[in-house]
């Protein structure tokens, strides 16, 4: 609503990735599944395809590494992307089956260790994996 420049947009994402408890963030394009931004995730293809290393995201992920306490929590960006995608597709099918005019707006998936929050939008998907209070 306010100042809408790419820098601010980036700042918003950076802020989000630096919130306490947030392990990783991931922005996907919805139509192609291309990974737009990541933080706190390692990229498998980084060595194979140098184009995929994002300067901005590497700095956010660097910030995020300090944020991330457990190393085991770092996943592979491509894996997470494809898994999120198939999960979202499944959820979309479910919603579609219930009511064809409905659509998925938010997915929160609690696991024993953490929580995935997925915000699907018309063009992009934002995914955050964050720690939850130990229950």
């Amino acid at each position: 609503m306010a100042q809408n420049t790419p820098d601010d947009t980036l700042a918003l994402l950076t802020r989000l990735s630096q919130k306490p408890g947030v392990q990783s963030t991931l922005v996907l394009a919805r139509d192609t599944g291309a990974i737009v931004r990541t933080s706190g995730l390692i990229s498998k293809s980084a060595s194979a395809n140098p184009n995929s290393t994002l300067p901005a995201s590497s700095e956010t992920s660097a910030d995020n590494y300090t944020n991330t306490r457990k190393e085991g929590g770092i996943h592979n960006a491509e894996d997470v992307a494809s898994m999120v995608w198939s999960f979202l597709t499944a959820a979309g099918d479910l919603v579609d089956g219930l009511d064809t005019e409905d659509e998925v707006k938010l997915l929160r998936l609690r696991t024993k260790k953490n929580e995935l929050v997925i915000v699907p939008d018309s063009k992009y998907i934002l995914v955050v994996i964050h720690d939850t209070p130990p229950a």
Binding site: L13, A34, W85
Partner: protein, 704 residues
């Protein structure tokens, strides 16, 4: 990254150039061979069979493309079909796809490289993912392909493979193919017919295989082979500069922050049988207060933004009546950021702690602001420049309307404004420090609908009345009180009425404060007993006073006995505090409860039914958020804790927002006895009894 793309472009360009070169050579050779065949001499030329071969190839290609053409994959020249029949090019095209195709292809799969070797259909399924621009680029190549001069196709295909793999394949092909084809051209033809037949069979089989899974393939493939790759810098830039992406980030990060903050508040998966350490402990630490349970005041949220709240002071606060979780805070300018707008309003959400829901700007410091009670999207504000501004939460951060700087409106700072009237007919009433009161309609801020100049009644030294605050009674939008810098409070009429002209009603003066009146508040009577004539005033003379105002209609006859004389009214209750009192507000639901904030940084909640001399609760905001003065030496701690404003949540009266010098907004929640919708009738009658008792005392003291 740019350089690698550039490099690849260069490669492509180089190949194109080479292709052109080859075409030219072929033309030359054709001509030469034609001449030679005319001459009848046995030619060692290599090109002669090539046309026929290429014709056949072209047939094949067109067959392939005819068969495959209905699929978008025809945009890909090196479709698996060719790979099948021409293993020679398989390897090289495989090579190609890894270092040449990759940049062109929008979404290469990580698995593609290996997949190329086999008969994988992966590339087919993914081709339709091409980015529009790149696709165009691709299609241009296709145009050359389909339009292609006959000789092209042959050249074009191997060209691609030659380009990277074996650059000498041109020379390779010529010696091997030409003598053979020359001598065995007939046999070769037969063989090629055979090959063609085989090829057709293979293609058909393959097509079947491809097309069968195709209908459902979109999603099935999507799961396995969806190209989850990162974008190149250029693509990234394009994506991130698109409005869609910006809007998406704006929306989705808000949702996520709310989601994360909600998590912090309460874990819905909490299992109380486990552990037990998570059980909600009644913390009575800093920022919350002890005492009887119902009278608890607990801090629930603090809002401060590193970017925008820095070095600004809070000038006003307000809750939205439609969305009780939204709190707006207006700020003064940040003196060390001349490029930022002076005026700032941030709308905070109780469910999103680290970031404002909305940010609004103005050219000049905003001194007062509030949500329109009649329209959930509108926010009105008064500025130091004298402007009245209107923002819309559906619009951008700039005001959607503002009054002109010059002309008929205010020319002095507007410290006080209100929206009065009903849902269908309401006006903005603004008041500047030179005593000008203007009435505006929300639809048109270009010109005031009403203009009223308040002048001090005769005994005053100056004509202009320096108004610091105004307050409208709940019941009558035509009448209001104006608090002044010298400490007196005057009743004012918006319109002429019987016995009084519009403007200051000089017959009554509420006198008691010795310093500027910072705040005036009418009792928001909504209960069994009408207490709407009770007014609280706060002043920097370290006191809060409770007044019982004369009904405006009654002032006429009451004054008839002594015409011209000013009737001086004293407060019925005078509450001395230990510091400057900046703001005081009645609870919107509890008739006997009000809250005040002072220069020492305390929020005090009073219940006049319980005690009229000490507050029921007194709390200070915690230090959790670093305010503007966080880095200052602690000696100044006294100054920076000062609280300027407070606001009650209007619907339930359970929350109080306070803010001050350090720019931090703190929201407290009060216990059942001090907030919440259910009130007992004793509370109303208690206030009534107290007021009549106080009135009696007051009159006795005044010797009336």
């Amino acid at each position: 990254m740019d350089s690698t793309i550039q490099q690849r472009r260069d490669e492509i360009l180089a190949k194109k150039a080479k292709l052109a070169e080859l075409k030219r050579q072929r033309e030359l050779r054709k001509e030469a061979s034609a001449r030679q065949s005319l001459a009848g001499s046995p030619s060692p030329d290599i090109a002669q069979p090539s046309p026929s071969r290429s014709d056949q190839r072209r047939d094949l290609e067109s067959l392939i493309s005819g068969l495959v053409g209905d699929r978008p994959s025809s945009t890909r020249p090196d479709s698996p079909a060719q790979r099948v029949t021409r293993p020679h090019s398989v390897i090289s095209s495989g090579q190609l796809s890894s270092d040449n195709e990759a940049p062109i292809q929008y979404v290469p799969i990580t698995g593609v490289d290996q997949g190329m070797q086999t008969l994988s259909i992966a590339p087919l399924a993914t081709v339709f993912e091409f980015d529009a621009a790149l696709k165009q680029q691709k299609e241009q190549e296709v145009i050359t392909y389909s339009k292609g001069v006959q000789a092209n196709i042959d050249d074009w295909q191997p060209q691609r493979s030659r380009g990277v793999g074996d650059s000498d394949s041109e020379g390779d092909q010529s010696p091997t193919s030409s003598p053979r084809s020359k001598r065995l051209s007939r046999r070769q033809k037969e063989r090629e017919d055979e090959i063609r037949a085989n090829l057709r069979k293979e293609i058909e089989e393959e097509l079947k295989a491809v097309q069968q899974p195709a209908p459902e393939g979109g999603e099935v493939d999507g799961k396995e082979n969806f190209p989850f790759k990162t974008l190149s810098n250029e693509e990234l830039n394009a994506v991130e500069n698109s409005d869609e992406f910006i809007g998406f980030v704006e929306r989705s990060t808000k949702v996520l922050e709310r989601a994360l903050d909600q998590q912090l508040g309460y874990d819905i998966l909490a299992d109380y049988a486990l552990g037990g350490e998570n059980v909600d402990e009644e913390d009575e630490g800093y920022g919350s207060s002890g005492g009887k349970k119902g009278r608890r005041v607990k801090e629930i949220a603090q809002f401060w933004d590193e970017r925008w709240s820095k070095k600004r002071m809070i000038s006003d606060l307000g809750f939205s009546s439609k969305f009780p979780e939204l709190v707006l805070a207006s700020y003064t300018k940040n003196p060390s950021a001349p490029h930022d707008p002076d005026g700032l309003i941030q709308v905070w959400n109780l469910h999103m702690h680290d970031r404002p829901e909305y940010i609004f700007h103005a050219q000049s410091d905003i001194l007062t602001a509030k949500f329109s009670p009649f329209h959930p999207n509108l926010i009105i504000g008064g500025a130091y420049s004298g402007q009245v501004l209107l923002w819309d939460t559906r619009a951008k951060s700039a005001p959607v309307q503002k009054t002109p700087l010059t002309g008929s409106g205010h020319t002095h700072p507007v410290y006080s404004l209100d929206i009065v009237g009903t849902q269908n007919a309401n006006n903005i009433i603004s008041c500047s420090t030179d005593g000008v009161v203007c009435g505006w309609t929300v639809d048109m801020l270009s010109q005031p609908q009403e203009f009223l100049e308040l002048t001090s009644p005769p005994p005053a030294k100056t004509e202009d009345m320096a108004v610091t605050s105004i307050a409208f009674p709940q019941s009558d939008p035509t009448y209001f009180l104006a608090g002044t810098e010298e400490g007196s409070i005057y009743p004012c009429h918006r319109y002429d009425r019987a016995g009084a002209k519009a403007g200051v009603d000089s017959r009554v003066k509420y006198s008691g404060h010795a310093a500027p009146v910072m705040s005036l508040d009418f009792h928001p009577a909504k209960g069994q007993i009408d207490l709407g004539d009770l007014v609280l005033s706060a002043s920097v003379d370290w006191s809060v006073k409770l007044w019982k105002v004369r009904p405006p209609a009654a002032t006429g006859p009451a004054n008839a006995a002594a015409p011209g004389a000013t009737q001086v009214v004293s407060p019925i209750l005078d509450i001395a505090r230990e510091d400057l009192v900046y703001d005081v507000r009645w609870s919107p639901v509890k008739p006997s409860v009000f809250a005040l904030v002072d220069g020492a940084g305390s929020l005090e909640v009073w219940d006049i039914n319980v005690d009229v001399e000490v507050p029921v609760q007194k709390v200070s905001p915690s230090d959790n958020k670093r305010g503007a003065f966080a880095t200052m030496p602690s000696g100044l701690g006294y100054m920076n804790r000062s609280l300027n404003k407070l606001a009650w949540e209007r619907n339930e009266g359970k929350r109080v927002a306070v803010g001050g010098m350090d720019g931090v907004v703190t929201v407290f929640e009060v216990g059942q006895d001090l907030g919440g919708v259910e009130t007992r009738s004793e509370e109303w009658s208690g206030v009534k009894r107290l007021v009549s008792r106080l009135e009696g005392v007051g009159e006795g003291v005044n010797g009336k």
